[in-house]
Symmetry: C2
Subunit: 228 residues, 2 copies
Amino acid sequence: TIVEVLRKETDRRRQLSGRKLLITAGPTREKIDPVRYFTNPSTGKMGYALAREAAEMGAEVTLISGPVTLDTPPNVKRIDVVSARDMYESVMEHFPDQDIVIKTAAVADYRPAVTFDHKMKKKDGEWEVEMERTTDILQELGKKKTTQFLVGFAAETQNVEEYGRMKRDKKNLDAIVVNDVSEAGTGFGADENRVIWMGKEEEKLPLLSKQDVAREILDRIVREIRDL
Amino acid sequence: TIVEVLRKETDRRRQLSGRKLLITAGPTREKIDPVRYFTNPSTGKMGYALAREAAEMGAEVTLISGPVTLDTPPNVKRIDVVSARDMYESVMEHFPDQDIVIKTAAVADYRPAVTFDHKMKKKDGEWEVEMERTTDILQELGKKKTTQFLVGFAAETQNVEEYGRMKRDKKNLDAIVVNDVSEAGTGFGADENRVIWMGKEEEKLPLLSKQDVAREILDRIVREIRDL
């Protein structure tokens, strides 16, 4: 009946009320000089869909975002960052008082060891760029977490479930959402996504819009938190 | 009078009629693996503004574009490319029968020497990325040009005029448009730009919207072609 549909919708809008949710989204940029950097194809769509949906479900949402071209969803507090180092600092600052943390950002795992203030001039021949590891933010959060429900994302191109499960356990996550970015039309930049939820339960979801994937993920988080 | 204004506008709409104009725009992406690449902050705005304006002035415009999030301007034929190699091939294919060629694209000048089909797994410690030079498209066009009026763009952070003039002469260009990307609010990603026109004439333009910069540049091209 209509009454039931409305009640269900009203219930959904309260499912995360009072919860503080931190979401990271987008890529990071790791500069060599003012006009050259390393990055990845993340557009932030998945993270922004989660932020929009969580805010609709009543959560107090903080969205820490790398450089993307998306509009901030309604009722979401957005903080813009550029590099993996910026992202790390902002996440660590906001982490302590969160209830749920979802890391969708594709944070660069390497950055140039040296950054130049001025544009480097081209030279003949090859050029060795020395790269150093960035801090693994998710792993740090896994070590630091107290009561937070911590969800990671993993983009893989092969052995996706195996790598996903390994990351979830190694990084002390409550759940990981894995997707196979080698599949056309899903993952980076796409409007749809086919993911595997790996929390206490494991479940392959069908190909869905990112907004629907966001709903499915948040429903599973709510369910697994309730069962804790 | 209104009649004069309308006549002027009508004249402007014919200034490039019958001319074939090739514009390149945006960044290129140079892959290390499916989720990591090397690029630059170009958003394509300057090139797209030129394409829009040139089409309004009656030109037959081909726009070869790296990955950007802009809409194709009306009456412009757009060709999408990703890497410097793609850009080179597309430009070389379309170059021979053009009247005017404007290279605004920020084509990567280096690319990883090796590209991996699958996402590289992180390892402990540092990582040397070997980079090799890409083909300098503008320099190739300078060597190959017959009757084309060839315009380059240069983004510099220091000695901007000196480097600009050097590039123009070394690459056999008819003109170069130089901007200082170290200045906040202009250049990469901004909606405004402060440029120096260096053709037969040299002139510092004031801070203008990119659409107005496009007009000023096309007016100067029309004038210098007429004076040839």
